[in-house]
Symmetry: C2
Subunit: 514 residues, 2 copies
């Protein structure tokens, strides 16, 4: 047993021929004051398995009851290289050991539903790519460019042809977990999508009791994996002909209640966001292109915000699958320079219908190299970024009462102008205001007084005046986010300083304390 | 007297030394059933002038009363080359003679407040530029890069130093009108800004009675100019410490009531739009970057929409003055391909503080050449464009009741998906919805069944399926909006047709009936 690594107890027993999803098998693990109860599962061929994720080192006592009765102790060695589960802390992520995790996601929805060669190729691509999170589904996908049958399905079928959730397909789960483990070995987090609407087999239309039985078995098998996040759905709201809002809430509650280790949990939307203020939701997983609202969402949720879908780099005839590498890179910088995170995907037309976003294969786009450059910069910062407040654009977004409260913090000579400005904004219909302010946004964030990151995006400034603490010294670097260059433009500055800039777009300014 | 051209009656009389703004001088003009009353003005040196704009050809009788009493007739020849006042017709513009006017504006706020050499240079630049409308102010401008004194002011001063609106400065008006006429001779419409907040002289802080007296004199002098539009303000809402909403409404009412020829009338905002549904307002003159809302505004106002400020091409340290030529051209195409219009401006840092957007000079940017290309295309269309409705993105913007009403028009096989989609949208808070949909927008417009224009903007489609009437034949052209190329990609198509596209961004598709 090693801290932060999955531990397994395997027992032999009766070979089951029916109804093996909810085997009566429970284990209690205790170490000092810490105790956890986990459920085991039937793994075929008379194998009964209990999985556990020890989060502290030391002597663990365990006791198994149910169809197997056994007990013992295990010495858990301290972690050497493993960091544990990723957790949400304030508005960023940390591993269990306290080290920072900055997600750089990609999307391969039906990764596990391809033949072995293609899966192998995808994993090789991931190994060379800058991504440390992948969004992927348990169920196969039916959609444009997704017409192949998967090698295996999560359940056996009943005689009449419908899915029998009482009989999970052991071969499916073995193959699936092998893939998950290979991904984990590369240090990549799996944002595991439990349901989705793009379906021709009936997995999106199971009765709710079957949904819960499926989840129960899945959680028994996968909860001790240290690198999995629960994403209740891809586009939950397009699966609402079959699952009501109450069904989705029950699903959320069930996953949270049956996961002894409290993996990250989110739910991804097509249109209306899942309510990220709900207690079981650890972070917001948003599909949106309205990135200028990120600071508001971070403030309202007080949780990390990942823009898990912002369109994909490619040339599909679909709106969502046809942005340039340039635009993808812009969206990444908008997110990170706002204190949020972003997820990549690629959708290039291909004669063989192998499109990265769903089936994997090879990366063809121009953005991933630049995402690697961004990741390197983000990981060199002294800590997580949060949106910068206080400028006219953040004050412009305050409501009347908040504005009155904030006004004393505005320099006196600016108050009349800010007031005129705010009074006009407060008269705007909400729709006009949001559209208007969306185009006026500055992507600004900071890490305390240690680092300030601004992405200038479309702005081609010839100069900018920065306002820094007067009692600290800073270095200013100009970053060309597309050409991947970094140039120090000021070695040591403090207080209010005018910087000369080259007057072209797509640049970022990183100011770090020296 | 010529149809659509200004006609002047000039009389000699007493030389006035005080209070000459509101001379008692009125003329009635009548031709057949048409009759108009206009007010004359004192023009200095004992000159009394009456200006009239004959909109129909024929015999006009006139009768002057007040400080001058005279009458006579004039034969008005039919127009030869002049088109008359531009009017708003539905959601587009037409000259009085019924020919289409498609505005392509630029911005030179303080054009008339520069020395003669610079004015001359600006007019030469305008002559070579693609613009047929210029936004410019009556009052001088004080702001960053605008520190020079103007040669003349609109009023004389009182002994104590304040402005005496009873004594308009005749030399100012002579010089100003000379400039207006030079611009008119180039076929350029003047969007004349009557008030603005960027002021150090006190013109923005006149008492309301003085505002009205100034307007009265201005309207007597300028109403018969055939190429002037009234823009009540630049950023009226930043001038609300001195003028209340009621004051602005009174100004609007006064201008409308005292302009016998009903020039176009608008009011330009910084933040909250002036209400373009008001009866005196002929079109919306908007400052905004939220261009995806254009179809809604066109629908709600049922008047032409001009995005009169969408940021300027340049490298100033200001957000609004630092977009690239590329981005300016994108914004122009977004507007025109939505059935709206756009206005240009340039803001390049310059050692001599001569920045086009305020003071004129020479054009330095890269967008104006591409705006010329766009103008050529727009003027080759068979008629005005209106936003295309009916796609998922326009239906997505409907409220619940409108959606239910529109659903039967959706093809049956799409109804379930549209319903799921719409139900989710209707659950969204307005702010989230607007931000979200703003990023999902397709820039699509049409001219009946004669022409269809789509600007693909950021989308890099490798193919697109177009749905055209089955009983008509069309030619499809792919337009590279930056490189200014047009390529016929289909010679004769009808009905549903798949087009192969090059998979890069910044292209437009123009489909014209053959």
């Amino acid at each position: 047993m090693k801290q932060y690594e999955m531990f397994e107890l395997v027992f032999s027993g009766e070979t089951l021929t029916d109804r093996w999803a909810q085997t009566d098998l429970t284990a209690e693990f205790a170490c000092g004051d810490t105790a956890k109860t986990v459920k085991g599962f039937y793994d075929g061929d008379g194998r009964y398995v209990i999985r556990f994720l020890p989060e502290i080192a030391g002597e663990w006592r365990w006791k198994v009851t149910g169809v197997v009765n056994a007990e013992g102790t295990e010495s858990c060695e301290p972690a050497d290289g493993s960091h544990g589960l990723v957790k949400a802390v304030d508005t960023h992520f940390e591993y269990a050991d306290g080290s920072l995790f900055i997600p750089f996601g990609t999307t391969v929805y039906a990764l596990a539903h391809q033949d072995d060669d293609l899966v192998e190729q995808t994993l090789k691509s991931l190994e060379a790519a800058p991504f440390n999170k992948v969004r992927m589904c348990v169920f196969p996908k039916h959609y444009d460019y997704n017409h192949n049958e998967p090698p295996l399905y999560a359940f056996e079928k009943k005689a009449e042809g419908s899915w029998d959730v009482n009989r999970p397909c052991i071969a499916f789960w073995h193959r699936f977990e092998k893939i998950l483990k290979q991904i984990a070995e590369m240090g990549i987090q799996i944002d595991l999508i439990l349901f989705h609407p793009y379906d021709r087999w009936g997995f999106s239309k199971l009765p709710q009791q079957d949904n819960l039985m499926y989840l129960d078995y899945l959680l028994r098998r996968l909860s001790a994996f240290p690198n999995i996040w629960w994403s209740l759905a891809n586009e939950y709201d397009l699966n609402m002909a079959d699952k009501s809002l109450a069904d989705w809430e029950e699903i959320e509650e069930f996953v949270a209640a049956n996961d002894p280790f409290h993996h990250l949990l989110s739910n991804h939307n097509c249109m209306c966001f899942w309510d990220a203020t709900r207690k079981n939701v650890t972070h917001a997983s948003l599909q949106t292109k309205g990135l200028s609202e990120i600071p508001r969402w971070i403030r309202e949720y007080n949780k990390p915000v990942i823009i898990d879908e912002c369109c994909y780099e490619g040339n599909l005839p679909h709106f969502w699958g046809s942005i340039s590498g340039q635009e993808m890179v812009r969206r990444f910088w908008r997110c990170y320079a706002s204190g949020a995170y972003c997820t990549h995907g690629e959708t290039f037309l291909s004669d063989d219908e192998i499109v990265w976003w769903a089936r994997g294969g090879v990366l063809k786009g121009e953005s991933s190299k630049r995402i690697a450059f961004l990741r390197q910069i983000m990981e060199s910062l002294p800590g997580p970024l949060t949106p910068k407040a206080g400028g006219i654009w953040s004050i412009a977004r305050l409501n009347k009462e908040e504005f009155e409260a904030a006004l004393p913090s505005v320099p006196e000579e600016m108050r009349e102008f800010f007031t005129l400005f705010a009074r006009s904004i407060h008269r705007m219909p909400e729709q006009d205001r949001t559209a208007h302010l969306g185009g006026e946004h500055a992507w600004e964030s900071h890490c305390g007084e240690e680092a300030y990151l601004t992405y200038f995006d479309l702005q081609c400034y010839g100069e900018q005046t920065v306002k820094l603490p007067k009692d600290k010294a800073y270095k200013a670097e100009l970053i060309d986010v597309w050409n991947m260059t970094r140039e120090v433009i000021a070695e040591s500055i403090s207080g209010e300083t005018k910087l000369t800039l080259p007057g072209r777009d797509n640049l970022a300014l990183l100011i770090m304390r020296i």
